[in-house]
Symmetry: C2
């Protein structure tokens, strides 16, 4: 039993705030009820005005709540200290404070008061000034943000707005989450606590962090190093101008980016740039972060994209490795004459199920090769799902990433790849970035 | 009258090849008829077997075609020299040779024979070993590739497969083309001729080129320099390994990338990496390639994305410029207290139509600012189309690029932006790249 379990896996939740439609309290309650948390635990809306909301009785105070593990607070800032005290009296061990009006507008004193009350009552706090949390496997959607489906990604974000944008991005791409945590002013709990917690959380397979700064770089790197789950980080405030903006945005210091960058590599975290790369790296992690060496083989049915992929791989400091003479001989045995058995291996336009499958299996056995990228621009007469099927059926051991181009022609193939958890990207460049992330970052320290 | 008009704007077209369903000749004919070229000019299918296809008489030889401007040839390679001769006899001035089996498989002699016949008969040739052409404003879809809609982009590609992928990519994103040219082995016409031609073509607004190598770098840069239309280039074969692959793929030399890179900048071309950046740059070009200086203002309603955008702008060698004291005072007059009037200008989460509009107009007047990026992560209660409308209605003069995040929440806003030709990108990083492309590339020579 971890003390944060009362936040992410509570049985009894109080939600304090305005229960008028359109207000944050109401919207959070709606999210919670839409996901049927009430069938798993108890949700108690609390507001001094009492009454009813969405079929539930509104308790006039926390004292009326029969049992309590977690308080979610969306009331005006000035009431928050006494609400924390009240939560403690009823046995709560956690609080998510969505309310704003604290440190972010210079109201540090009120924030300190909240912290004191929390410490006195043994309550761990997320926020204030945050967007709330999701714990999808526990059906707890304690946030006004767009709900997303269940999955293995725990996403921790210092920026509520960026968190919201990430959820929107993930939703249209059908990416599943174990948790979403927006931690706002980080009065008590911060990214270090959450990374530690999700390292142990059985529903979390991969940890994502959006970070502007940290209070304890050494500890942050330690918890990243200690987890055996992949950690993907977006560090914001990298430029000097961006770092200034961090100060005026959160009041925290962004710190020297170079230090972060090196430390992330040493700790084994994968650092990405922005939301698109973040979710690409999440995809790539399916075949193992830090799992491969630098030597990549490219298998393609079209020259141009093969060259573009080669350019990108080399520009990332990886190698489009020379494959062995033995492999080349074996490839020559079954490939058409116009093929190129050098890496990139070009198995030409009319490559079908059998040709792809045999090539993948042959290249996989080459000792010089650490990972493979499979490119396909299917001609109209070869269904992309045949090529997808060849990858799925092939007998191989090394990490493999696919790039099928483009548009409607490859839709069926992509569906099959997704269903079989084979990471695939829409361009040769993004596929190359994919093998970069699965290659050992520690060996990439410059 | 340009001599290439008989290729891109012919009245009478012969299509020579197999007219059996599934064969290239048939598929090209179908594309041509699907787009009703027969209502604008004459299309004559030709095959020695005669008969009928898709309601048209098949002529048994080119001699039976009453009038001829362009021959599109998809017959076996060995027949091509005599078909060129035959086309010349009937008055054709252009030929598109889709057939393969020439230089790309070592059959240089046959290729030379084709060139001689073409020169003797004053025929300009595209191909051989190419995917054909589209001339959308002339309803001519003389290719087996996926047809795309009318627009201002002429796309010239050395790789047929990459060309096909680009068309598929463009189709799902509703991007319009004036022309598509796959020129294969470049026996006669090459990228230099096409850039020159599309510079004068009244239906072309922007020229895109996928290039592995060129036969005449000096001339290539000259035609790019001489056009007053934006030229966007993807150069493939940049790494040493990629350059080797170019040699084995097309037999041409990729040349030193550094030379290309500098020459493109000097000539005023925008060089991009891959298909995603290519179409992003096409979008950005709506507000003018090479039109702006390096000083960018960022206007955002959320801190995190504002910082990410700032980081990217600075990493591209542009400046998130310090705005003037005067502008800051003006902003302070109407923005809420928690806003930041420094650049990035953070107008906070609840920024609505009026606040965005007034901020854009105020920042636009700042002499230090060359271009603007408008970021928006709309909270649930502010419709994204209100923010889109504020940009459309605002009175401003400087180039402006938008980034609305994310997913379903911004769909309505994006539709409005697209309808009004306001370049918009799905991430702050890609928006930053957008201002990079519109900033003067010549000033970016390192």
């Amino acid at each position: 039993m971890n003390e944060l379990d009362s936040i992410f896996y509570p049985d009894n939740v109080a939600l304090v705030g305005s229960m008028k439609k359109g207000k944050i309290g109401y919207e959070v309650l709606k999210n919670i009820l839409d996901h049927r948390f009430d069938e798993r635990g108890n949700i108690y809306p609390v507001n001094p005005k009492g009454g009813e909301v969405l079929g539930l009785e509104i308790r006039e105070s926390l004292e009326e709540v029969p049992e309590l593990d977690l308080s979610v607070i969306a009331s005006p800032a000035k009431y928050v200290p006494s609400l924390i005290e009240g939560s403690g009296n009823m046995g709560a061990k956690g609080a998510v404070i969505i309310s704003s009006g604290f440190g972010e507008i210079g109201n540090k004193e009120l924030e300190e008061e909240v912290l004191k009350k929390a410490q006195k009552n043994d309550i761990r706090v997320i926020g204030p000034n945050c967007a709330g949390i999701f714990s999808t496997h526990h059906d707890l959607y304690a946030s006004f943000e767009l709900p997303v489906g269940e999955g293995g990604l725990a996403f921790i974000t210092q920026s509520g707005a960026f968190g919201g944008a990430a959820l929107g991005w993930a939703k249209v791409r059908d990416i599943g989450f174990s948790s979403f945590v927006s931690y706002g002013n980080a009065l008590d709990l911060n990214e270090i606590d959450f990374i530690k917690y999700f390292s142990e959380d059985e529903n979390t397979e991969i940890i994502g962090v959006y970070l502007e700064g940290t209070v304890d770089g050494r500890e942050l790197m330690k918890v990243i190093k200690n987890t055996n789950k992949p950690v993907i980080v977006i560090k914001s405030g990298k430029s000097s101008r961006g770092s200034e903006a961090v100060s005026s945005h959160t009041g925290s210091l962004a710190g020297s980016y170079k230090v972060y960058n090196t430390a992330f590599k040493q700790a084994g975290a994968v650092e990405v740039e922005g939301i698109e790369e973040f979710f690409d790296a999440v995809k790539a992690s399916k075949v193992g972060i830090n799992s491969a060496g630098k030597n990549v083989a490219v298998i393609t049915n079209s020259g141009g994209p093969g060259i573009m992929c080669t350019d990108k791989i080399e520009s990332l400091g990886l190698n489009v490795v020379e494959i062995t003479q033995k492999t080349r001989e074996e490839l020559k045995d079954f490939l058409p004459e116009q093929s190129s058995v050098k890496n990139p291996v070009d198995i030409i336009a009319d490559a079908d199920y059998e040709r792809y499958k045999k090539t993948i299996e042959t290249v996989d056995k080459d000792d010089k090769v650490d990972s493979m990228i499979i490119l396909c621009v299917p001609p109209g007469y070869i269904p992309s799902k045949d090529i997808a099927r060849s990858i799925i059926d092939a007998n191989y051991e090394k990490p493999l990433i696919a790039n099928f181009m483009s548009g409607e022609l490859v839709e069926d193939g992509l569906k099959l790849l997704n269903k079989n958890d084979i990471p695939n990207f829409p361009t040769p460049e993004r596929a190359a970035k994919g093998v970069f992330w699965i290659s050992n970052q520690k060996s990439n320290i410059k």
